[in-house]
């Protein structure tokens, strides 16, 4: 199987087959991160498409010292974080925010408490939790994706999980 970096070298030359292979390898994970951050499947697909389009259009700026997954997650989290910012601004200004459409992500019952608890976790920690648990990324990879130190990654994850534990504890959701 061709290496990720080999594929990216071909993507940089505009090779659509190589790009399709990159999408096949990473599309599901990217979509999962986006969907858990943005809530709706439609918004997540839109964010992933925008991120992948950036990946394709700026393939020549990819540097081989980056793992392809790290590079893709950087682009995707940049898109998702900005979308979350826009929503927060809209919620402040709109007197009547639009109600969620039929495609709004409704987590299965067993995840409802966690879904609500995650809403109370600050954005940066939420992004790190999503990356950590979708793909089991190391602290070093998380630090590189968000451009922060490993110690900050650890403290953000610990803070996020402490908040989750407190929220879920209130709801009794950590006990079977």
């Amino acid at each position: 199987m061709e290496s990720d970096r080999g594929l990216m070298a071909r993507v940089a030359r505009g090779d659509e087959a190589a790009f399709t292979e990159v999408v096949n390898r990473y599309g599901g994970r990217l979509l999962s991160v986006a969907q858990r951050l943005l809530g709706s499947r439609a918004d997540a697909e839109d964010a992933v498409q925008r991120a992948l389009l950036q990946c394709y259009a700026s393939g020549s700026s990819y540097r081989p010292q980056w793992a392809v997954s790290t590079w893709l997650y950087r682009i995707l989290t940049n898109v998702c974080v900005d979308e979350l910012r826009r929503r927060a601004t809209r919620a402040t200004h709109d007197r009547f925010p639009p109600s969620p459409g039929p495609d709004h992500h409704r987590p299965p019952g067993r995840h409802m408490d966690l879904h609500r608890a995650l809403d109370r976790v600050p954005r940066e920690a939420r992004v790190l939790l999503a990356l950590r648990y979708v793909d089991g990324l190391s602290y070093g990879e998380l630090a590189r994706i968000r451009g922060i130190s490993v110690n900050t990654v650890k403290s953000q994850l610990a803070r996020g999980k402490a908040l989750l534990r407190a929220e879920l504890g209130k709801r009794g959701a950590l006990h079977d």
Binding site: S32, E45, R85, A130, I148
Partner: protein, 242 residues
Amino acid sequence: MIDLTIPDRLDDLLRDYFRPEPAPVDLARRVLTTGRSAAEDLPRLEKRLAIQATSQGVSFIRAGKLDKPATAAARRLAERAREEIVEYLSGKRAFFTVPVDLSGAPEFQRRVLEATRDIPFGEARPYAWIAARIGHPRAVRAVGTALGRNPVPLIVPCHRVWRSDGGLGGYLFGAGLKRRLSQLERATPVLEGCTSTRIVCRVGCIHGRRMRPDNRVVFGSVQDARSVGYRPCKVCKPSAAA
């Protein structure tokens, strides 16, 4: 007594919640199709623009030809406006620093244009919002007329004013371009940090021009950036803008 099972239970819950899902089989094709159909109309728009300025600021922008600005100071402002518009249309700028000169506009129109400048980048407001904002809630149609004659489109963002029912409304460069500008602003972030300097700037700040693409991280707020060790830029002052 501390319940040692809780952290593990939380890890299990998180792993289950964040379990990857399959991507649509045609995802790559959809991205490539979107990429191919991405319109080239925005760069073309810039080439069609003529910009007039006074020594106080940009005073008139239209497609076509205009007289050259009369003074050297005005020419510099017109040139600066063009540079900022080029960056804006290529998704590298989320704010304008060049001043505008609205002194030629009647009082009502000037108030409409100033209210329009308060609409944040990437947002849209109804005509009725502007009317209410300037204290004439019934003058919705007059607001539309005033915006239709906006002397400095793009910099005064009349493209962010839509109909209350979500319809586009008119635009002096055409409704298609109004929609494209909305898409452009949706795809352009507002705050970016540099991973090597750990400084967060507004997108379009002079510092950002020197940033390597792989050093660029987008933030949702200055507070978010501070929480992970970034400080706000002293030139573009993102805290003041937020």
